[in-house]
């Protein structure tokens, strides 16, 4: 195992005395969540971690240990094709051989080879990550001058490509698509080589790089990454990129390839680089990209009700979906009868709107497609920003509904202004959502009213709401740093605000990646759904708890006490329950429409 792998799998390594904790874990009384209990399965944690490592490849991986041992030696070089259940993994062994550490043996020119050694090191350095950091992020495509011969291009940690089945480039995260024609053709050759054998290629591992393939009819998507994310996560990201493309063009773009297999799709996506780059950026800051749930802006119950009521009014008049959002958070949303909106569609739609500056200048009426709703047809979206962050989207099937939707918007805007919804939205944006420092004390030892509610402006000096364990340094009680609570029934999640130790976008991204890994392992069908997971590494303690109703992902100080951490998770769940009226949009589950 490589060193980074053993780090992440060293569960409780730092714990000098695991037995009493196990005992504590076992004997804790967990009363929340409609009778769900944390099931004690800590004993085989070590064994499960092993599974974890190999589940990066799912059923594909046959010899990950094998090649990782070769990693340091690098004398043997060869390509091994393995077939298991009609799925193929290609192992490119000997990554320290200069020509093979490039992607899939592409362009091993001697001039570049010496720098490939640096690549392995530079990839791990924090310095290199600056390229991806949120602070440094600017919309739009960067590094267009690069191509696959550029050292800088080859050093990028995560590439995304869209290409056609004839090997024509359609989109590349970095570099100019047209200059990457040769590289695209190589990717296409790999895919078709395996397809000719009646198989499908899903994943190629080459040293630290994973090459993930997703075939969608005539459109191929490829991710080349050395971010150590699980295969399922990278595949999920490719699915979203494909969805974003469908949102812009609909799936009927496939017909162009039926007519002309060599069809060049790049002109059709003209001007959308910014949409894709913003989506890819959101993979590192927006948990909705892997939770498949949306999040609401915390608002007093009455405020959200007022917004919902007026949206309901217009939804009755031929509007398919009426959605009011503030940045990536939902204020309220309403669908026509039996119309349900998938959280992924909401993510892609809001990304499309927020990344395109053009929507901010005026009211717009644009064709868009919701891939999960109907990938074949365009809907028409009336979009209007009501203030700098808040925007209204009215979706309809009728291409001549503009003036009607414009009237609807005028009505909605008037009501929202009158009922102060817009100012409440602004205030909530400033106040933020749930802060771990505000976690109320033990539910049994505090009066109900002490639980902090949103929209009831309490003075910060109101000390009972600021509860801290005496020994906790930073973050919340018991070393709680952060949590995400996902309600399965509502398809919504709430994430606590980032504070003290997890301040930088870089740290946040790392934490989301850790959550992503957790999420993948908890939803791994092969291993059966885990109920709980407790992991400790040098960065943090992660605790995950899955019940039929909700999933909780919590992060603690790496030295946090396990028993206390579990207790704290129970309190978080209670807290979420106490304020669910304010943090979730209730009665709007797509299934109840």
């Amino acid at each position: 195992m490589s060193s980074s792998d053993s780090n992440s799998s060293s569960v409780d390594d730092h714990n000098p005395n695991p037995k009493p904790l196990d005992y504590q874990f076992e004997t804790l009384n967990l009363e929340q969540g409609s009778g769900s209990t944390i099931i004690q399965n800590d004993v085989d944690e070590e064994g499960r971690q092993q599974d974890q490592g190999s589940s990066l490849n799912g059923s594909l991986n046959v010899n990950s240990n094998n090649h990782e041992q070769d990693d340091g030696i690098g004398l043997v070089r060869g390509v091994v094709l393995r077939r298991t259940n009609s799925e193929v993994e290609v192992d490119v062994n000997g990554p320290s051989s200069p020509s093979s550490s490039g992607y899939a043996g592409e362009r091993g020119s001697s001039g570049v080879s010496e720098d490939d050694e640096i690549e392995e090191v530079a990839n791990d350095s924090a310095l290199h990550e600056v390229f991806d950091s949120q602070a440094a992020w600017l919309p739009g495509k960067r590094h267009v001058d690069e191509d696959d011969a550029s050292i800088s291009w080859r050093k990028r940690k995560k590439h995304f490509f869209i290409l056609s089945h004839s090997g024509k480039p359609i989109y590349s995260r970095y570099g100019d698509e047209h200059k990457l024609a040769g590289f695209s053709a190589t990717l296409q050759a790999i895919i078709s080589f395996v397809e000719n054998g009646g198989d499908r290629v899903k994943l190629v591992r080459a040293g630290k790089h994973q090459v993930v393939f997703l075939v969608k009819g005539p459109i191929y998507l490829v991710c080349i990454s050395c971010t150590e994310q699980p295969y399922e996560s990278l595949r999920g990201e490719l699915e979203l990129i494909y969805g974003q493309m469908i949102l812009i063009l609909t799936k009927s773009v496939n017909r162009c390839f039926e007519k002309n297999p060599k069809f060049d799709m790049t002109p059709l996506l003209g001007g959308t680089d910014v949409v894709f780059s913003s989506l890819i950026h959101s993979f590192s800051w927006n948990p909705a990209t892997f939770l498949h749930a949306y999040t609401c802006l915390p608002l007093a119950y009455g405020t959200r009700q007022a917004a919902g009521a007026i949206l309901h009014d217009v939804a009755d008049s031929g509007v398919l979906f009426a959605i009011l959002m503030c940045k990536h958070k939902v204020v309220s949303l309403v669908g026509a009868q039996k119309a349900s909106l998938h959280p992924d569609d909401m993510l892609l739609l809001s990304n499309f709107i927020m990344s395109s500056e053009s929507f901010r200048t005026s009211e717009s009426f644009s064709p868009i497609c919701l891939p999960r709703y109907n990938p074949m047809a365009f809907l028409y979206a009336y979009v209007r920003y009501l203030d700098v962050d808040t925007y209204l989207m009215l979706l309809t099937t009728s291409s001549d509904a503009f003036y009607h939707l414009k009237d609807c918007r005028i009505r909605i805007e008037m009501v929202l202004l009158k009922s102060n919804v817009l100012s409440e939205v602004q205030r909530s944006m400033l106040d933020g959502g749930m802060h771990v420092e505000d976690l109320p004390a033990d539910p049994l030892s505090r009066p109900r009213s002490a639980s902090p509610h949103f929209g009831e402006h309490q003075e910060p000096t109101d000390s009972p709401r600021r509860f801290r364990e005496p020994f906790a340094g930073i973050g919340g009680p018991a070393g709680l740093w952060h949590f995400i609570y996902r309600s399965i029934y509502l398809e919504q999640y709430i994430s606590s605000e980032f504070s003290a130790p997890i301040n930088s976008p870089q740290q946040q991204k790392r934490l989301y990646r850790a959550y992503q890994k957790l999420y993948t392992s908890m939803h791994d069908k092969g291993n059966g759904a885990h109920k709980t997971q407790f992991r400790r590494d040098e960065n943090y303690v992660l605790l995950c708890w899955v019940t039929p109703d909700f999933e909780l992902y919590a992060t603690f100080d790496p030295l946090a006490d396990k028993g206390l951490a579990i207790k704290t998770c129970n309190r978080v769940c209670q807290w979420v329950k106490d304020v669910e009226n304010e943090i979730f949009l209730l009665g709007a589950s797509p299934f109840s429409w």
């Binding site: 063009l249 001007g271 009426f365 064709p367």
Partner: protein, 200 residues
């Protein structure tokens, strides 16, 4: 709306033209008096309204600033249907955009409202050094096709108000009665629209 003895005309106006010709810049200059050097490309179509007074009439423009991107071409009828006026915009420093403009003129002549007032705008007139399309060439083309022609610059505001004013003037002469604005409803199956978007 003003209810004077004057004529009140509601006129739908559509801007068509190649990507980057400056349609949005022209509209923003006319409606908001603004100009940004790097205008982001328009998605679908943006809607603006602006009122102009000409002679004895008040013309309220309902302006559709369409996206020049290829994927939206087949959806253009949705925006120009029922339009009383159109400005076809090209970039004087880009020959291809002039060719694209001619295509739009053809399409409007075939599909558009027959009484439509059409203007040809050679935009980016401030870029004299980079000129690729001669003003005379465009002038001749415009005359042959019954358009009126102006070279404009959204950046310096040259001729921007003038071109809208000229359209308003012509509309007030053409249309003695208020024009019922709005889009004509036509059934276009979404399927067909979508596929046409990609294979036009």
């Amino acid at each position: 709306m003003a209810t004077t003895a004057n004529k009140n005309i509601n006129a739908k106006l559509v801007l068509l033209g190649d990507v980057g010709a400056g349609k949005s810049s022209l509209v923003l200059r006319f409606v908001k008096g603004q100009f940004v050097e790097f205008q982001e490309s328009t998605i679908g179509a943006a809607f603006f309204s602006q009122t102009l007074a000409v002679n004895d009439a008040t013309v309220k423009f309902e302006i559709w600033d369409t996206a020049g991107q290829e994927r939206y071409h087949s959806l253009a009828p949705m925006y120009y249907r029922g339009a009383a006026a159109a400005i076809i915009v090209y970039d004087i420093s880009n020959q291809a955009s002039f060719e694209r403009a001619k295509k739009w003129v053809q399409e409007l002549q075939a599909q558009g409202n027959p009484n439509m007032v059409m203007a040809l705008a050679g935009n980016k007139a401030d870029l004299l050094d980079a000129r690729k399309v001669a003003a005379e060439e465009a002038q001749v083309y415009a005359q042959e096709n019954g358009l009126f022609f102006m070279e404009t610059s959204a950046k310096t505001a040259t001729n921007v108000n003038d071109i809208f004013y000229e359209i308003a003037k012509r509309l007030s002469q053409v249309q003695p009665a208020p024009n019922p604005s709005g889009m004509v409803i036509m059934d276009r199956p979404t399927e067909r629209t979508a596929s046409a978007a990609c294979c036009s």
